[in-house]
């Protein structure tokens, strides 16, 4: 039985003041990553399809498939990037993803085990960073936020790591 039936804001409002968007300059990087992720499997599938059905030439259809896959992937990547929001409040860290398939993950500050801050060469050029928050869980053992603003990510890391220092019983 639920104790508090808080029915306010059932529809998660992304325009909430607490929620932060990822910086727009990371959209291209997200698009690139997603485009690669779609283009290669589709090209491979096209080759297999042409070989099995013997319709069309793999030399023609594979690049075409890759191109279409890349375009679709880029579109999805930009959409996803735009729909990824994070927030840090007194309860902990929260991450919202997707419009079509919505997920909202929450890692309470008291459950953070350790943090990784990663910066690839392209991310460094764009002053972006990837923050990985590890918990002791199994299925959600790591929550990854790619394409975060570099200073935001550092601030978050410091904020979440401070809790670890307070928790003297952590080990």
């Amino acid at each position: 039985m639920e104790t508090d039936q808080a029915t306010d804001g059932v529809a998660t409002a992304p325009q909430d003041a607490d929620w932060h968007h990822l910086p727009a300059r990371g959209a291209k990087l997200a698009a690139l990553g997603s485009a690669m992720g779609f283009a290669i499997p589709i090209a491979v599938a096209m080759v297999a399809l042409t070989l099995v059905t013997r319709v069309g030439s793999p030399w023609l259809l594979a690049p075409l498939g890759a191109l279409i896959g890349a375009a679709f992937g880029a579109w999805i990547g930009v959409k996803r990037h735009r729909r990824t929001l994070w927030k840090l409040d007194e309860d902990g860290f929260a991450l919202q993803r997707g419009r079509w398939w919505q997920t909202e993950s929450r890692v309470p500050i008291s459950r953070v085990q350790h943090l990784d801050l990663k910066r690839g060469p392209i991310e460094r050029g764009l002053r972006l960073a990837t923050l990985v928050i590890h918990t002791a869980g199994t299925r959600m053992a790591a929550v990854t936020v790619a394409g975060m603003d570099g200073t935001d990510a550092e601030r978050l890391r410091d904020r979440l790591a401070r809790q670890l220092d307070h928790d003297d019983d952590a080990l």
Binding site: Q5, V10, G92
Partner: protein, 502 residues
């Protein structure tokens, strides 16, 4: 040649048992044994026969030298709040292991260990792939003393005249262990694993030839008998039944070997399980290290009016040793009442068995049915195109059954939550109850698929440490969105204000 270890001086460095090199060697050899034998038997002859003979000898020599050296370089010291272990010769390591970090203590005695009066001790912490320390091997009384020391976190003196009486919570008589063998599929798993291993280790043609010869003989014998259609059917059914019966017998035998003398006891808020017929295993875990609980009741369980109670601990399982070492089973098999009593005793705040469950809305059954229906329709379509005859419609017969099963699943799925514990239940033929203390939750996730958004529902996932992939996930599906949001907020607030205690 027993090493006179001064038991009263805690700061003295100690060594392993003088025979420990033998066990290290055996462990090393065992890893290479099957390939070595296979090489000697099947790979013999030819131009390299000299190296085939000498190679294994050289390898064994190197292993012996390594094992003896390990005995001379491995020292451990028992401190007031932790163990320190020093080992290595050229590459030296020093490990400090605080007692508070040790989640699980395992004492393992194989038949050979028992002959020498020694035991292997493993100290395990949360996570990681390897145990914190693996002492192969200690004299049995030293091993037991080390175990008590870790149990009391080094506070008490080593030599305790008679350990305080432990409360026995559950012990399995032989009839129960036989029941356990009957409900389990151990035999099948072992057969499949042995078959796979044989196929990998022996050269391809050996196994293939063996199976070919065997089946040819069998078919030759059968055709020689000149049986009719009906008697052939009866014979094959009898053969299958015989195979199943043999697998059950094997399961029972394995259960007897592994679970003979199973006893669960509690001492100072620490649970200890000991079991085993030939090789004895004693493993213990602190009560507060338990991360989640699973109560399971399969069809055979229900026929015998039994259930099983398993726990998750944060100790990582080594690959291929699933369920062998760490304390995972509080009650491998017990009556439902005994399981409930165990839970009441060990987790009083759970108020088990719960009477109040919030069940799934009855109309949600088709959401469970939908995935299998979609798969069936696709399969049917593919078959229709491929065969081009109405026989391709045959898989659609599965749909009514699937719908019925989904209804039954939806009828039984439910959850309950209060300040301390969250519990879910599910299943139909094979039923499960899974629950965890709210303090032990690690992360939350709210998921809304497109269908969820249209129907105003949501699913809530909760993550705990040490959950195995086989146990049912701790998730509440198809909740009304408002309820899901409220529960999600309530839990995240509760988690934020409670420290992780494990």
């Amino acid at each position: 040649m027993m090493d006179p270890v001064p038991e009263t001086l805690p700061l003295v460095e100690r060594r392993l048992h003088p025979w420990s090199w033998l066990f290290v060697l055996l462990q090393q050899v065992r890893q290479f044994l099957v390939p070595l034998v296979a090489l000697l038997v099947f790979g013999g002859g030819g131009r390299d026969s000299f190296w085939n003979g000498v190679g294994p000898l050289v390898a064994v020599g190197v292993l012996v030298a390594y094992s003896v050296m390990q005995y001379f370089t491995y020292r451990y010291r028992v401190g007031s709040d932790g163990l320190s272990i020093r080992d290595g010769w050229l590459h030296r390591t020093l490990r400090e292991i605080p007692y508070s970090r040790i989640h699980n203590v395992v004492l393992h005695q194989s038949l050979l260990h028992r002959v020498f009066g020694v035991a292997e001790v493993r100290l395990e912490s949360a996570g990681g792939q390897k145990p914190e320390a693996q002492m192969r091997v200690l004299r049995l009384d030293e091993a037991l003393a080390l175990e008590t020391l870790v149990k009391h976190r080094g506070r008490s003196v080593l030599v305790d005249a008679g350990t305080p009486a432990a409360d026995s919570l559950l012990s399995l008589p032989t009839t129960e262990v036989v029941r356990l063998g009957l409900v389990s599929n151990r035999g099948m798993i072992v057969m499949v694993a042995a078959f796979g291993a044989a196929w990998q280790v022996f050269p391809d043609r050996v196994m293939a030839n063996f199976i070919e010869d065997f089946s040819r003989q069998l078919f030759g014998y059968a055709s020689h008998l000149q049986l009719g259609w009906a008697s052939t059917a009866v014979a094959s059914i009898a053969l299958v039944l015989l195979g199943l019966a043999l697998l059950r017998v094997l399961s029972v035998a394995l259960a007897l070997v592994q679970y003979h003398g199973f006893r669960l006891s509690e001492e100072q808020r620490r649970l200890t399980v000991q079991r085993g017929l030939l090789s004895k295993l004693r493993t213990s875990v602190a009560r507060r290290r338990i991360q989640a609980w699973t109560l399971h009741e399969g069809v055979l369980h229900r026929l015998m009016k039994r259930r099983s109670l398993r726990i998750d601990t944060a100790v990582a399982e080594q690959q291929g040793q699933e369920g062998q070492r760490a304390l995972k089973e509080l009650a491998p098999i017990a009556t439902p009442e005994a399981c409930d009593a165990l839970i009441q005793r060990l987790l009083p705040q759970a108020q088990w068995p719960r009477a109040q469950w919030t069940s799934l809305p009855a109309q949600a059954w088709w959401r469970l049915f939908l995935p299998s229906a979609l798969v069936m329709v696709i399969v049917t379509g593919a078959l229709l195109i491929y065969f081009g005859s109405t026989w391709g419609l045959l898989p659609l017969l599965w749909l009514p059954w699937s719908a019925y099963a989904s209804r039954q699943h939806a009828r039984r799925a439910a959850y309950t939550v209060d300040e301390c514990v969250i519990a879910i239940r599910g299943g139909w033929w094979s039923r499960h109850w899974r629950f965890a203390e709210i303090d032990k939750l690690q992360a939350l996730r709210l998921v809304r698929s497109p269908l969820d958004q249209r129907l105003g529902t949501a699913s809530l996932w909760m993550d705990t440490a040490g959950a195995s992939g086989l146990s049912p996930p701790l998730q509440i599906r198809f909740l009304p969105a408002a309820d899901a949001q409220a529960l999600y907020r309530q839990l995240s607030r509760a988690l934020a204000h409670r420290r992780l205690r494990w």
